[in-house]
Amino acid sequence: MAKFLLRRVVQLVAVLLAVTFLAFSALNFLGDPLVNVVGPLAAIPDCDLVEAGLREDTFSTAGNIGDCEVVSRARAQYNLDKSVPERYVRWVGDLLTGDLGSSFQTGLPVSEIVREKMPKSLLLMVMAEIVALAIAIPVGVLAAYRAGRRLDRVTSVGSFGLLSVPNFALGVILLQVFALRNRLLPASFDDSTLWTRLHSLLLPSIVLGLGIAASYQRLLRTDLLTTLQEDFVNMARAKGMPDRHVMVRHALRPSLFSLITLFGLNTGALIGGSLVVERIFSIPGIGSEIVTAVIRDDFPVVLGAVVVIATGFVVINFLVDLLYTWLDPRVRVS
């Protein structure tokens, strides 16, 4: 067990390094961060020559010696004068101390931005998972219990259809129906109290949760149908236990394990979905923050937020794996 754990941790670290490196180089190679800091000044030719004091006569092309100073200060401040690998190593070093750099636009530390925005997004995602499970488990159990009958057919078609509805489309439709046409639920986020927070996140979490519910329901139904063929289900019925007990206490529990794996995989879709849903329902979460930062070319914020999200995603999948091993008594011992 200890060896298994150690191997998994090493793997985790390797993947985290790869993920941060990918994110870092994507932003550094695909674009020039200097442009983001100093704007058009970055395009001044020969500034490096001016810096080196080599060419006094380039003022005419370099515009203004002051501009060159701005550029070189920016370079130094954001380590832009170093090579990309070196910057990466420095950046990881800072990262380990909790320093994600600071915004080009506002100068605020990225870690602070993340700390402020993240809880709202997390709350949204947790609520979405709750909605998804609250729908998927009962519907999945009922569908498997009535396999092949009308209820099962209807829910199967329903969840297949639901999987083809993009979550932004669902968001727009539910927003129109429940918030704009009939003012049943708020159309945008309200941070004033815990209650308003939960209340205004209800519709967005339903939007996010429905799609996930459909995938959970399909998996659960198939899994339950397999479990229902097992001898121990026959045994429970032969003992005269009522159907409800057999479905919930005997069949459902072993089928929940595969749901846990899907939970890990779905988290990626959930994060992506919450980016979009935050935009539609004006939720000032981490997703909205990234999008704004991308539009404003605020490179440290994008990088910091992406890395936090990707790390969270990797760690969740890691934990899901461990949880799976720990929860299933069959795997636990062997």
């Binding site: 026959n234 019925r237 032969a238 005269g240 009522p242 008594p329």
Partner: protein, 352 residues
Amino acid sequence: MSNAQLSVRDLEVRFPTSRGVVEAVNGVSFDLERGQMLGIVGESGSGKSVTAKTLMNLLPRTAEISGDIHFDGEDVRAIASGHRKHFWGVKMTMVFQDPMTSLNPVKRCGEQISETLRYHLGMSREAALKRSIDLLEQVGIPEPARRVKQYPHELSGGLRQRVVIAMALACEPELLIADEPTTAVDVTVQKRLLDLLDELRRDRGMSMILITHDLGVARGRCDEVAVMYAGRLVERAETEVLFSDARHPYTTALLRTIPRIDQPSHTRLVPIEGRPPELVNPPDQCSFAPRCRHAQADCLEGVPTLTNLDGNREFACRYPANTEAGRTSFFANEAAGQTVTGLTIAQPSEVN
């Protein structure tokens, strides 16, 4: 109708599938007296499990069932459709072939036994757990107090099957159906488990149906043995009668597959030639005819009916073994070298 505890009449079970309708059980009838033990024997696929599952209301709902099943004079199929509580598990219960799969892998053994007690007898959690420990002790499990807290995979196959037996017996059922309860455990454990079942049965005056494909297992334990072939009952007789004086050629063939103590151990057992028939659209003939050494032309015309000779035996064959007609037909086939269905009779063997 007799005053039998369980009486089954003209039971038919069909499964519509993509390949056609599987006629899994075809006109099976039998009675079981209180406190008796009936063995049901037959090759794989002969419909033993389907028969048992029909009695227990465990078939998938795609199954088409017809016929009458009465337990203590009550219509079992009506009980099933009426969703009556406290019938299965209390009056009648079943244990399955594989102890590895018949316990829920994610529930502790104790929980699996005590849930039955709590549901049927309304016991409290503590009382049910104490009773579970008692039950485990009765089926000969050492350290029962520790076992109730263990998960099934922590036990050996033999112990697991004991847990299953304890579970089945928890509510003192009147009839136990054991579907090949020992095929999945090794031979030494097999005998001990069967003896345990027999002992518990006698103590409680419980009736039992023992399903097996091994006639040897039925010998000495069952009061009566029914032989199934391709979904039909082909012979039924008191155990001693069946062993000493079988009539159906399939039964005699099965008897030849049992290892005999009086033969040296290297003597080869005689397997039954040919393969069991398809259950989809079976032709209107004796289903054993293609593999039967006695087969004559009229065996291919219509299914032979069960004939009841003297109350304690019945069989479905026109040229039964150990009779004059059977001997004549066999010698005729042997002389021709093959039967009407093309089965070759290679080396002259002992007369049946």
